[in-house]
Amino acid sequence: MSETSQLSTTDVIDTPVKVRRKRKRPLGFYFAATWIALIIFLAVFGWILPAPSWDTSFYDSLGVHPFHHSHILGTTLDGYDMFAGLVNGARLSVFVSLVSVTIGGAIGTFIGVTSAYFRGKIDMIVTMAFNVMLSIPNLVLSLALLSVLAYSDENHPATMSRRVGVLMLSLTIVIIPILGRIARGATLQWSSREFVLASKSMGTKNFTIIRKHILPNVAPAILAIGFLAIGSVIIVEGSLAILGIGVPGGASWGSMLANGRGNIAYSPWEVYLPAGAIALTVISCNWFGDYVRTSLDKRESKI
């Protein structure tokens, strides 16, 4: 390195850095953590809250404004309780996004890590497959997958659970190449490090090396991107619902939004509330992911 290329650090500060002032976590981190905790709480324990049933229509109170005494966040023009809808939507969104990102991430990581570790033909094929899948915008891909997988003729509409299952499957397929590519890139970096070579030279089995040396180093990066992926899964779910192809009947946030669009002039909270919930959740996931990523960068730079 050149001796004075960066005046403020190299030429002047030549002594080893010992004390580092503890970095304050950004405010956004606390906000994001709180919101994510709240959503998870609602998703898991939402049923104990004294809220009306989400799929019951109250014909005597159609389109009630938020902060009404019996419907805290109001009702839709069709008389569905907004708060109950949001709580139920949280459960579905958390469930769908967690399951698809976990499964898709696990498969993607497995494929990415093994192909990058062993290189050769497998790696070429995997890279090509990822490129193929990434060449189709993820919304288009999940649209196409859904339209095929959730196919039903008019006489026998698909059941709700099948639709949710199919939705998760398509989202999982969309996630695989995204996280797979990250895992592949990270593995390429780590597998050329000295400690991996040293371990290899001592005759350690490949899968032991992957388990002991590669995975622990790759995992944090996957985790950080995983949070971002949860955000984009929620966005895709909402988009699909707006296109009329996701989960029907106001069972998810996106679906509430899609139903509320038509009533936008009469009961705008039908749009504001689910859109706000989606936006806040995505923002929180991104903030959280970004925090994980930057704290990892620091860990890396200290080595």
């Binding site: 956004g28 060449s135 919304l139 339209s147 929620i234 909402g238 988009s239 296109l243 009329g244 749009v271």
Partner: protein
């Protein structure tokens, strides 16, 4: 020569990706339960279905069908939409739906770049200042806001409640430019907010790195103004990632406009894709998605090649 070989290699790679992607789409369609021809014309007679089956190559098995589709694509025959009792050429539909999408994407890119370049330069130049911190937070937040939520809320506020613009529709710029721009404001804003944020962040990171380079101090020591240093010496070397990403988005945005076009009812390519999927026009759907995928891969490859050829630094690495 070096560059020619690179070009050929990339072209081969690019076509392989597109061919595999479209073949997978065919396969997907093939997996649909039931007869594709019946999907295309649910109410058509047996004879019509037979004609269609022959016309689209559906009667020749998955490989036969795919080859039929691909060879026709390459000669410019993009297939048809089969409507009850008639058909429309996909080419005709494309002629109609490409311009709105292209305008939408072009405007969004222009708006995003015009905002992002000064924002990125200034916030990097004033790294850590109050301006930088506020801009970074706002941009990071807005990049996370889903496009559809933004689109719906914008349309709710400015079209429904304030009534400043019409909530839906599209007007050609050659017919009524004023109406065209008025209708485009909200969709373009919905797309541009996310783009601006991501461009600004990309540029800021690169500019911060460039500002630490010796040649920037060197340029400053010539006694030229800060503005000149930033524009002439910092911006160019820092802009590679930004321009790459902007070009890549040209392809990616075509898919990304689906939602915005649906919400604002703009008859663009995204709208057509959603329509073809919804109405199960599988042949048209395959063609449209293939075009989007091709556009993405094409821009990807071109940008890669261009940066390889034009940036002296990559040449330096090759030398």
């Amino acid at each position: 020569m070096d560059i020619a070989r690179l070009l050929v290699k990339r072209l081969v790679l690019m076509s392989t990706v597109v061919v595999i992607a479209t073949f997978l789409l065919s396969l997907l369609m093939w997996m649909l339960p039931g007869d594709p021809a019946q999907l295309l014309v649910p109410n058509g007679t047996e004879i019509i279905q037979k004609v269609i089956r022959h016309e689209t190559g559906l009667d020749r098995g998955i490989f036969g069908y795919y080859w039929h589709w691909l060879s026709h694509m390459l000669t410019g025959d993009f297939g048809k939409y089969y409507l009850n009792g008639g058909y429309r050429e996909v080419t005709e539909v494309l002629k109609r739906c490409l311009p709105p999408s292209l305008f939408l994407i072009l405007y969004a890119q222009i708006v995003a770049l015009t905002l992002a370049i000064p924002l990125g330069l200034i916030s990097a130049y004033k790294e850590g200042s109050r301006f930088d911190r506020i801009a970074s937070t706002v941009l990071f937040t807005s990049v996370s806001v889903p496009g559809f939520a933004l689109a719906l809320i914008l349309s709710l506020i400015f079209a429904v409640q304030l009534g400043w613009v019409d909530p839906i529709g599209y007007e050609s710029p050659f017919g009524d430019p004023w109406a065209h721009f008025k209708l485009m404001i909200l969709p373009v804003t919905s797309l541009a907010v996310g783009l601006t944020s991501s461009y600004t962040r990309l540029l800021r990171t690169d500019v911060i790195a460039t500002l630490k380079e010796d040649y920037v101090t060197m340029a400053a020591s010539k006694g030229i103004s800060n503005r000149r240093v930033l524009w002439k010496h910092v911006f160019r070397p820092s802009s590679t990632t930004l321009l790459t990403s902007a070009a890549l988005n040209m392809g990616g945005l075509i898919g990304g406009t689906i939602i915005v076009e649906t919400i604002f009812v703009i008859p663009g390519i995204g709208y057509e894709i959603a329509y073809s999927i919804g109405s199960r026009q599988v042949v048209a759907m395959q063609t449209l998605i293939a075009l989007v995928s091709f556009a993405y891969v094409f821009f990807n490859t071109t940008v890669d090649l261009l940066t390889n050829i034009t940036d002296p630094r990559t040449r330096e690495r090759r030398v």
